[in-house]
């Protein structure tokens, strides 16, 4: 092959058939990253954008200044939510394969993101998630039956069957409706936070996008507006390495995603996304800062997407089958569980009992949800809802179309 100069196009580190080897990944030791005071100047903590906040070490012990020193009860609650999310995902995937859902997206390997970050917030903080943070709803106590009714698109789906599964909306839980265009929610969260500041309220807003989405213009709008208006908002890039088949090497030519925040003069912290304690701690720090008037924080959540992008995706076509197993930062559930066992607050026996209990709960909830209808047989949202909610009240042309349709 000739060595003629041509366009540089980066590639993923490993492709199907290759053995993934992450030994070159620079992973600072757990406990190494310093924990600055909450109202620190962003320029004083630039190193945190290149480091990695880790609390759980290789022996699953909590170490260093970022240890949030949470009560074991709180940790057990987090473990329960994460296990529920994984079991819920598995069940929904099974049901999708049986044709009961039109589509599904799992959070495998990223369970700690929504759960730990969600638990570090107040219930009145407003959530602008992407499709990979449904776990926030467990943290805020949403009825699982309602979630399933949305996923199987029956008459009890609170969004009236208008969206694909996983595009939840839950106003009571301050969980803002998810849309499919990626990244649009990021600057919306900034506007929402600006409104809290405008009204003199101390609730904050938080949003998540993926590494792929960090290439969208909305990403820049969000960082820039958050910086200019010192909005009380937490902006997270969940760097799970993959956007469908687009590896983060294609999404960004930069050093770390967190490094981008430096140019906006926003405190930027990189955190181990598979470490419940580190995530909880960084989020609490940022939330406290925002509530005190310190403005936004930009967080790169460093993790790995354990499953396919969605049920329409086949990752074996573009990455090694077992790549997730080689991920050096492990499984967030296993790590928190081992930590709790190490504390003497948990056991394998209790774990298997919990998993059984949750599995039963999900199966029971699924059956309960099906009482309100199924995707194939209905009942679905009544036909006249087709014309509702386009406007607050249907204007004349829509009323006419509704009549034409037969209502």
């Amino acid at each position: 092959m000739s060595k003629k100069k041509t366009l540089h196009v980066p590639d993923a580190p490993f492709r199907p058939g290759e053995k993934p080897d992450f030994s070159n990944l620079e992973l600072p030791k757990a406990g190494d990253a310093k924990r600055p005071k909450v109202m620190v100047e962003p320029s004083e903590i630039r190193d945190l954008a290149f480091s990695l906040v880790r609390v759980l070490d290789d022996k699953h012990e909590a170490v260093g200044p970022w240890d949030p020193k949470l009560d074991a009860l709180v940790l057990k609650e987090g473990l329960r939510h994460m296990c529920l999310l994984r079991i819920f995902d598995d069940r929904m995937l099974t049901m999708q394969r049986q044709g009961k859902l039109s589509f599904y997206m799992k959070s495998l390997g990223e369970e700690a993101v929504a759960i730990a970050q969600g638990m570090a917030l107040r219930p009145d903080d407003i959530l602008f998630p992407s499709y990979r943070q449904p776990g926030l709803q467990f943290v805020r106590g949403r009825d699982i039956v309602d979630m399933i009714c949305h996923c199987i698109t029956n008459v009890k789906d609170n969004v009236k069957g208008r969206q694909m599964p996983v595009h939840y909306s839950w106003k009571e839980g301050n969980f803002v409706s998810i849309s499919s265009p990626v990244g649009t929610q990021f600057p919306q969260a900034v506007g929402c936070a600006m409104a809290s500041a405008y009204k003199g309220e101390d609730n904050i807003s938080i949003s998540w996008v993926g590494d792929g989405t960090a290439a969208e213009g909305d990403f820049h709008y969000a960082l820039n507006f958050a910086s200019v208006y010192k909005a009380p908002v937490l902006l997270n890039v969940v760097n799970n390495q993959w956007a469908i088949s687009t590896h983060k090497n294609i999404s960004s030519g930069g050093a770390t995603f967190a490094a981008r925040g430096i140019a906006y003069d926003v405190p930027s912290i990189r955190v181990d996304g598979n470490d419940f304690l580190a995530l909880y701690s960084v989020t609490s720090w940022a939330a406290e800062r925002a509530r005190k008037g310190g403005g936004p924080t930009f967080i790169e959540v460093f993790t790995y997407r354990g499953e396919a992008h969605s049920t329409s995706d086949d990752p074996t076509r573009y990455r090694p089958k077992d790549e997730w197993k080689s991920w050096p930062l492990g499984d967030p559930i296993e790590r928190l569980k081992s930590h709790l066992i190490g504390l003497g607050a948990w056991s394998e026996k209790e774990q298997s009992k919990l998993e059984k209990e949750l599995d039963t709960l999900v199966i029971k909830s699924y059956k309960e949800a099906e009482k309100h209808g199924t995707l194939s047989e209905g009942p679905w949202a009544p036909e006249d809802t087709l014309f509702e909610d386009v406007y607050k009240k249907p204007p004349r042309h829509l009323r006419k179309q509704r009549q034409e349709f037969g209502f």
């Binding site: 909306s169 900034v190 506007g191 507006f225 200019v228 509702e388 386009v390």
Partner: protein
């Protein structure tokens, strides 16, 4: 009553709403300290404070997305896009987010955002300061689209738009800001100070969306227009002596189809005038609806007088701008004379 131009009537509407509703805030490029490149927000920051009326980065997508977030969190934002030619970076946020939020959340969330944006040509602005992009937005369910043609309507329609819980795109024909313009660019510019529609109540009032106005009654032919073209059409009728009924649509969504059909059934003939290009312009929608509703009353094919299907030119602006002559020619054609 005061005599106002459209800039002053916009300013008056904003002033009243800012006073009335503490959750209203106004933002966009140059709207704060400076008071807007067209002066529509002049003095408002000083009167109400920086948090109520503020400058933003040059970021149409950022302006619209943050407006949506504010709307979700209980505010009633008024976002200005400095020229409607520059609205396209915000297209995704407007058409995929703002327009669909209420629907996709099953009615749980909405954002009562009003987008004010100057549109139209006749100002030597070339193709990036003259466009009329209304049809892109009338094609998106969930949005309302309003275009006034005079100071009186501007204030009443703007107040209604802001108080509406649905998103509204409020197009302001910039050629009309300082005076009515009938398309005759060679004669001295007129001002609103002697025009009856330049008389604007100083206090609060509203005009409902979806109600057209009969600009000039007539019996021979119906001429449908909005924005700047209302004045061109009216003067075309006056100068030609054709007994045309000129209707100012005022809002495109919702559309006052009753007033339109009543007039066309009476006259049996219709000319549609708009400044935007012809293909897939709003005139195509009007034409389709009229033939659906009035086919057996029509004595002649519906005619359209529009901008050409080209970008808006700079030096050849007046060859592009739909002139009185072209309107008269079309009226004569549909009259068979």
């Amino acid at each position: 009553m005061s005599q106002m131009n459209i800039i002053q009537s916009v300013n008056s509407a904003l002033d009243i709403i800012l006073e009335k509703d503490p959750n209203v805030c106004i933002f966009g490029q140059d709207v704060g300290y400076f008071g807007g490149v067209f002066r529509c927000t002049d003095g408002l920051q000083k009167k109400y404070g920086k948090h109520r009326v503020f400058d933003t980065p040059l970021s149409e997508g950022g302006i619209l997305s943050t407006a949506i977030g504010m709307g979700i969190n209980g505010l009633r934002p008024i976002a200005e896009i400095q020229f409607s030619d520059y609205i396209f970076p915000a297209f995704d946020q407007i058409t995929n987010e703002l327009a669909k939020l209420r629907y996709r959340s099953g009615g749980e969330y909405w954002a009562p955002v009003t987008i004010r944006t100057p549109c139209g040509g006749g100002i030597r602005g070339g193709h990036y300061h003259s466009q009329s992009p209304e049809a892109y937005f009338t094609h998106t369910p969930g949005l309302k689209v309003v275009i006034p043609s005079n100071p009186h309507d501007t204030k009443g329609l703007l107040i209604t738009s802001i108080e509406d819980d649905d998103p509204v795109i409020f197009f302001e024909p910039k050629r009309l800001y300082n005076g009515p313009f009938d398309g005759d660019h060679k004669k001295a510019a007129l001002k609103w100070d002697i025009h009856p529609k330049g008389e604007v109540p100083e206090d609060y009032y509203s005009i409902p969306l979806g109600k057209a106005a009969i600009e000039r009654p007539g019996n021979q032919v119906t001429v449908l227009a909005y924005g700047t073209m209302v004045h061109v059409a009216r003067e075309a009728a006056e100068s030609s002596g054709i007994d045309a009924e000129v209707i100012d649509l005022r809002s495109l969504v919702p559309l006052d189809i009753d007033t339109i059909t009543e007039s066309v059934r009476k006259t049996g003939r219709c000319v549609i005038v708009h400044e935007a290009p012809r293909t897939s312009g709003f005139g195509a929608e009007l034409s389709a609806q009229i033939q659906e509703e009035c086919f057996y009353h029509l004595e002649a094919p519906i005619a359209r007088v529009t901008g050409w299907d080209t970008p808006y030119p700079h030096s050849l602006e007046w060859e592009y701008f739909p002139s009185q002559e072209r309107v008269i020619e079309s009226m004569k054609k549909v009259l068979g004379s």
